[in-house]
């Protein structure tokens, strides 16, 4: 789960990482009030779950509360790469003496934590990595004992951060790493981490990605979602524990397992069709899950046909078939459903569908055949 900058900073503050004084605002009037409380010059920053807001005009300076209101009025409602700005963060302007880049993430290849630090912060770090690789210091961290003090120091010295404030920088790195691990983050990225004129080290931005698998340890993290603008279909799917992503085509897809669903998308594309969505019911789906999945797709007007592709393992095909039959009885399903069942209890599942004898259920023997039938039916609808 990608957090807004201000949400990430609230977690930083909780873990002892210095951040600028700031307030959020949802209206220009709130922005004026926030700027007034903070006093002095402020910066008004669009809160979006996507990069590049600076170039898009989503970050503006304001000399006083009145200007802050005007800037907020410009930024609120702005579209940044498809994301509508609904919240701005108003922060005291920092006195920047130096800008650095820091991130902690998992290096899947090495199966270790990876720290990256650069003295060239505040700019396009991917460009720095490509053009001046030596300017980006990388260090692997053993997750068993975590970032050691000597490693934090070595990152600071090797990256060439300000020597006089090395102790403070190392301490902030240790706290950011503490947040990365202790809050179950997939990513903690700060660009820029700044040195102020008075020698403090402050996180001027935050990019935090939370691992939702860790939420059982942090039940309050679900609250962050309240501020996200979520696609209503995706929200509905999430509330029903379905992994759903809206796409552009007309063939609704339901499958079990991310790999099989991705593959179904690929095969639909290969035979000339186009998927309306990605919908993974996960492992061990019961009849209710299938009914819920079909229910979600009824809300998508682009769908012309639905392809259910199930290869049972932990999922039992008989329960899937039951779910389809229940949905036929209780929901208005405006499209044909091509169903391919294989694996655990597939024979029983196919028998249940045959018994139901619904005209809108089209059985398919293979994944390829199912894709072809679905694309054909979508074209006909």
């Amino acid at each position: 789960m990608d957090l807004f900058e201000y949400q990430g900073k609230s977690l930083f503050a909780r873990m002892g990482v210095p951040v600028p004084q700031g307030r959020i605002a949802r209206t220009p009037a709130e922005a004026r009030a926030a700027a007034g409380e903070l006093g002095g010059r402020v910066v008004v920053k669009a809160q979006v779950q996507v990069g590049g807001r600076g170039k898009a005009g989503g970050v503006k300076l304001a000399a006083d509360a009145g200007e802050a209101e005007a800037r907020a009025a410009e930024i609120l409602g702005m579209d940044i790469k498809g994301h509508t700005v609904r919240i701005v963060l108003i922060e005291q302007v920092s006195d920047i003496a130096a800008e650095w880049y820091v991130s902690f993430t998992l290096d899947r290849g090495a199966k270790q934590h990876l720290a990256m630090v650069s003295a060239k912060g505040g700019m396009d770090i991917e460009g720095v990595a490509a053009e001046d690789p030596a300017a980006l210091v990388k260090m692997h961290i053993d997750p068993v004992i975590g970032l050691a003090e000597w490693q934090a120091r070595e990152l600071v010295y090797r990256a060439g951060l300000d020597r006089a404030s090395a102790r403070a920088s190392a301490a902030v790195l240790l706290k950011l790493y503490g947040a990365f691990v202790g809050l179950d983050c997939d990513l903690v990225e700060v660009n820029p981490l700044i040195l102020t004129g008075s020698g403090e080290v402050v996180a001027l931005d935050s990019k935090v990605t939370l691992d939702s698998n860790g939420f059982f340890r942090h039940p309050d993290f679900e609250d962050f979602r309240a501020d996200f603008t979520e696609d209503p279909l995706e929200k509905m799917a999430r509330e029903r524990d379905l992994n759903f992503i809206k796409l552009e085509g007309s063939v609704g897809i339901i499958g079990n397992g991310a790999g099989l669903v991705m593959s179904t998308l690929d095969v639909v594309s290969l035979v000339g069709g186009s998927a309306a969505n990605f919908l993974d019911v996960g492992g061990g789906a019961g009849a209710d899950t299938i009914r819920n999945a079909l229910d979600v797709l009824t809300r998508d007007e682009a769908v012309r046909v639905v392809l259910i592709n199930i290869f049972g393992g932990i999922t039992r095909c008989d329960l899937v078939a039951q779910g389809i039959v229940e949905a036929l009885g209780s929901l208005e399903l405006p499209w044909p459903i091509v169903v391919r069942l294989d694996g655990t209890n597939a024979t029983a599942g196919r028998a249940i569908l045959a018994q139901a004898a619904s005209a809108s259920v089209v059985p398919a023997a293979t994944m390829r055949e199912a894709a072809e039938r679905a694309v054909e039916l979508a074209g006909r609808a």
């Binding site: 770090i125 991917e126 099989l260 290869f311 393992g313």
Partner: protein, 290 residues
């Protein structure tokens, strides 16, 4: 021969008394897997369908000679369960089915096992391992398998079944099918499994099922170039998938250009792997090797 599981497997299941654990463990037993024990703290001394339950893995191993652990323990307790399994003398394989373990737990457990234990871990979030005709340790539907000469290894759960199904329906059997799971830190990687298939005299060819994200397929390609003499057929899912989670700039820097289905396909093709673009072609491609 088969890799990881076979006739000598003596299986103990963490969470045998749970619904999913029991369902699959007994399916495994019905298939012929030697299910010798279950472990559920607090239920030691009871039994389920004649299989004795112990409070700890160590007790189960002492009493039954178990050598393989399969775990169905829920995510908050799964890391601890894997560490318990790894610490038990005599356990030579751990298969962790549990889905939803935090990545930080996985990273810590993986690193600690690397440092202190020689016990391989398959998973977490994986369908397990089946050596057709010998033993099934996991949730793969054994009906779709057939004994034979092809090794299958896959990051994806249900797509593994699809691949195996494509082989079996063409009469091509498998030595062992290994689902390594698609989590960020799998205990066992493509490379580990390829190494075993290469060393296994009965495995004549390998099917590798990858997907977008991470660098495991690129690492597999490097390993194949250097160490694998047997033919490999690969399929990568996600050619048309929308770009997923990006992990910020850090993620882009780590993975470079890799991570896309196209990059993975190219990396594998470059080292002589037959890459198919439709899973239904896997069977044909393997058949064509002969």
């Amino acid at each position: 021969m088969a890799i990881y599981v076979g006739e000598s497997t003596r299986l103990v299941v963490q969470g045998l008394t749970g619904r999913e654990g029991g369902f699959h463990a007994f399916r495994n037993r019905d298939y012929g897997t030697n299910l010798v024990a279950g472990v559920t703290p607090g239920k030691g001394g009871t039994d389920v369908q004649g299989v004795p339950i112990f409070d700890t893995v160590a007790e189960a191993v002492e009493a039954t000679g178990a050598n393989t652990v399969m775990t169905f323990v829920p995510p908050p307790f799964a890391a601890d369960a894997v560490l318990e399994a790894a610490a038990a003398d005599g356990i030579r394989l751990i298969v962790c089915i549990t889905e939803g373990i935090p990545a930080q737990d996985e990273a810590r457990v993986y690193a600690y096992l690397q440092q202190t234990s020689r016990t391989p871990l398959i998973g977490p979030n994986c369908p397990g391992v089946i050596s057709p005709g010998k033993a099934n340790v996991g949730i793969m539907p054994h009906e779709i398998t057939l004994p034979g000469p092809v090794g299958v290894v896959s990051r994806s759960g249900t797509l593994t079944y699809q691949a195996v199904h494509e082989l079996t329906t063409r009469g091509i059997g498998q030595t062992t099918c290994v689902g390594i799971g698609g989590d960020p830190v799998p205990g066992t990687s493509f490379v580990d499994v390829l190494q075993r298939f290469e060393a296994d005299p009965e495995t004549e060819a390998v099917v590798l099922i990858g997907e977008i994200g991470g660098t495991a397929e690129e690492q597999a390609a490097e390993f194949i170039a250097a160490h694998v003499t047997k033919p490999v057929v690969a399929y990568i899912a996600g050619v048309t998938a929308p770009p997923g989670k990006k992990m910020g700039h850090a993620g882009a820097i780590i993975s470079g250009s890799s991570g896309t289905a196209k990059a993975k396909q190219e990396a594998l093709e470059a080292v002589g792997v037959t890459v198919v673009i439709d899973p239904t072609q896997i069977g044909e491609a393997v058949a064509a090797l002969r």
